[in-house]
C-alpha cells in the first residue's frame, strides 16, 4: 500500500488523529453545517436577514435598515420630548413582543420583569411563560410543586393556550433582576 500521506494510510492516520484532536477535524471531516445558525431549509432567501459571518443567528426585525421616509425616524431632537418607555403601561401582547424580539438585551429582561409583576412565571426548562387562568386552581399543591390547568403563551401561534402542567417551583424563574445601569431610553 501507499505509505506516504497520499494513500489510504494517510487518510487513516488523519481519521485516528481526529478522534483525539477536534481541532484537526474542522477542515478534513468538517462540522455539521446545520449548527451555524442558518435555516438551510428556509423557503425564503437567507441573505436578506444574514446578520454577519460571526453571528450564529439571523438579524432581528429591528436590526434591518429599511428605507422609510425620514419623518418616520425618531429624530434625535424630539427623542427627549417623547414619553419615556414605561412597560407597566403596556399590554401583554407588546410585552411578549419586546421579550421575544430583544433577546440578549436589557429590554428582554425588563419585559420579563413586568410579566412577572403581572403574575406570569417563566419556566426555565419548558422555556415558556405560564400563568394561572381565572378560576383555575391547581388540582395538587405541595411545598415543592403544584399541578393543574394553566395558560401558557405560545409564541409561534402568538396566543395564550390552556395546558396541564406539573410545575416544580424551582423550575420557575425568580423575579428577573435588571442591571443597575439600565437606561432603556
Amino acid at each position: 500500500m501507499v505509505t506516504d500521506p497520499f494513500g489510504m494510510v494517510g487518510l487513516l492516520t488523519f481519521i485516528r488523529a481526529a478522534e483525539t484532536d477536534a481541532n484537526l477535524v474542522q477542515l478534513a471531516l468538517g462540522s455539521d453545517l446545520t449548527t451555524l445558525g442558518l435555516n438551510l431549509n428556509s423557503p425564503e432567501n437567507l441573505y436578506g436577514t444574514f446578520q454577519s459571518p460571526w453571528a450564529d443567528g439571523p438579524c432581528r426585525p429591528q436590526d434591518i435598515d429599511f428605507h422609510v421616509p425620514s419623518e418616520y425616524l425618531t429624530n434625535l431632537h424630539i427623542k427627549d420630548k417623547l414619553a419615556p418607555i414605561k412597560l407597566s403601561r403596556y399590554g401583554e401582547d407588546l410585552l411578549f413582543y419586546l421579550y421575544y424580539t430583544h433577546g440578549g438585551e436589557v429590554l428582554q429582561l425588563a419585559a420579563a420583569a413586568e410579566l412577572y409583576n403581572r403574575d406570569w412565571r417563566y419556566h426555565k426548562d419548558e422555556r415558556v411563560w405560564i400563568t394561572r387562568g381565572p378560576g383555575m386552581e391547581p388540582s395538587v399543591k405541595t411545598n415543592s410543586y403544584e399541578m393543574g390547568m394553566y395558560y401558557y403563551f405560545d409564541c409561534h401561534r402568538w396566543c395564550k393556550v390552556p395546558k396541564e402542567f406539573h410545575l416544580d417551583y424551582d423550575k420557575l424563574e425568580e423575579r428577573p433582576h435588571l442591571p443597575a445601569s439600565f437606561h432603556h431610553n
Binding site: 443567528g57 432581528r60 434625535l76 433577546g103 440578549g104 429590554l107 422555556r127 439600565f182
Partner: protein, 48 residues
Amino acid sequence: PLSKDHAYQLAMMEAAAHHLPHPSDSERLRHYLPRNPCPTPTYHCPAM
C-alpha cells in the same frame, strides 16, 4: 512553516480578532431604541 509575509498577516489577523466588528457597527444609530446588549440567563429565548 509559514513564510515571513504570512506570519505577519497571521499576527495582524489575530490582533484584529480582539475587536471584531459588532453587528451595530453596520446599522444606523437608533436614538430611541438603541441596541443595549446585556448578559441574560441562557434559558431566556434568543432573538426569535
